[in-house]
Amino acid sequence: MTLDVLYFAWLRERIGTGRERVDTEAATVADLVDELRAREARYAEAFADISALRVALDQELTGFDTPLAGVREVAFFPPMTGG
């Protein structure tokens, strides 16, 4: 499947892009993170500690063990600081 993968805040800066298309057969978010980490050092560094990250699937917050089946958009970002 092909996913839109989005990065925000320092994650976006560290990876060097805010959005990319990713072809993957990853079953879960965690599997996708493993694939991304394996790509290049900047991904490995950005995803070194996923406890410091949050993920949204199709714009809904979820956890890293969530399956990707049927998902079109995955977003990774640090904890939010609104308000």
Partner: protein, 146 residues
């Protein structure tokens, strides 16, 4: 119920006045306004990034929860993104209810959830350095109050 995510500045006074006029039957109106602090003169500017599309959805969901839980007659959230200077208004919420305790609780709830469940990220700029504002543990703890 109105949710606005915008780059342009807005007048808190105008928004509160309009909200209060529209909520006249309610009796109790609470507003919260968040302003960029200059941190003792060390902060030059703040940059607020957000997740277009998800931002509006996430805020609307939070507002719906508040309306249902406290029987609000009206609610308003305005949140800016982009480049802000010290002294500028970042965001505001307003709630209207028949009971003042409900209006207070709902506004407090909205702020707690906007803080750590709406996809905004703040970056502070001071001289040559800029740094992302870290989420505070206490903001996560605050959610357990509700």
């Amino acid at each position: 119920m109105v949710v606005r995510v915008q780059e342009t500045a807005f007048s808190v006074g105008d928004e509160v006045e309009t909200f209060a006029r529209g909520a006249m039957g309610a009796g109790a109106i609470v507003s919260f306004t968040g302003v960029v602090r200059d941190e003792g003169g060390t902060l030059d500017a703040m940059q607020i990034e957000h997740y277009p599309g998800m931002t509006e959805r996430a805020i609307s969901k939070i507002v719906e929860q508040a309306c249902g839980r406290w029987g609000l007659t009206d609610a308003l959230v305005i949140h800016r993104h982009g480049h802000l200077l010290p002294g500028e208004v970042i965001m505001m919420v307003a709630t209207a209810s028949s009971h003042r305790s409900d209006a207070f609780a709902a506004a407090d709830f909205l702020m707690d959830f906007l803080k750590s469940r709406a996809p905004f990220w703040k970056k502070e700029m001071s001289g040559q350095t800029s740094s992302w504002v870290a989420a505070k543990d206490e903001d996560e703890v605050a959610l357990t109050r509700w």
